[in-house]
Symmetry: C2
Subunit: 146 residues, 2 copies
């Protein structure tokens, strides 16, 4: 960790990078009436077809109320439907509407393009190291939470 000063260190840069990427994603996805979080839900549902809110929340590493709110907004926008699960009456399975399915390819392309912008000029081995570091940090912070 190059900077030990809490006002100017790695942690702040991680947060800044995450925010900037999100803002840029939102901007690019805005033409589809989507944001990063919502786009991700679309992509997950496209992959898996139908998921409960709790499954989505777990996949996306967010809490259940967050997911409920996101799904609310998307249901209002006609992008997803909630269906009662035949196996368990607590569960609301979330599925894509036809309107949403038309967006998926564009979102994949958009996401790919943004990623390419973000990693431009960075050697693959450096990316691998950074990835390992981030994963270890996530693990470390998880341990610290106990």
């Amino acid at each position: 960790m190059p900077d030990s000063d809490p006002t100017r260190n790695f942690v702040r840069r991680i947060s800044l990078l995450a925010r900037r990427i999100r803002t840029q994603f939102d901007k690019r996805a805005g033409e589809h009436g989507l944001t990063q979080a919502r786009a991700l839900i679309l992509l997950y549902l496209d992959l898996k077809g139908s998921m409960s809110q709790a499954e989505l929340a777990e996949e996306m590493d967010v809490e259940r109320p967050t997911m409920a709110r996101l799904v609310d907004a998307m249901e209002c926008g006609g992008l997803v439907r909630r269906e009662v699960s035949p196996q368990d009456r607590r569960i609301r399975n979330v599925v894509l509407t036809e309107a949403a399915q038309g967006e998926v390819q564009a979102l994949r392309a958009l996401s790919k393009a943004l990623r390419e912008d973000v990693v431009a000029g960075i050697p693959q081995e450096d990316l691998d190291v950074a990835d390992r570091v981030i994963c270890q940090m996530i693990e470390n912070i998880g341990r610290a939470e106990r």
Copy 2:
């Protein structure tokens, strides 16, 4: 970038790490009635004595309305005071109250301890690489915004 799938990649992990760190910081700082963002402002003001909102916003890489709102909350909590600048009538210099000054050492220690938890077991050379990668990404996303 090891994962090209937008539902499961480095970008998501960056966001997750930032969020987890913040949540843990908030938890630890909560005993002082503070959150990460507010603590940072305190630390900046402790370093520099008095700063305008615009300066604070720039140092912390947030937008001015965000800073205004943070300072509002802290002013309400008796942690900072706003003073009109003698040089420029637009500017509100933000200064620490005495109550806030008593928190600074504790916040530094808390911040240091959390950082140590986050980087535990990671070799310094890996941390250096990761830092370089993050900085390059921030630069890349800045370029992509234009």
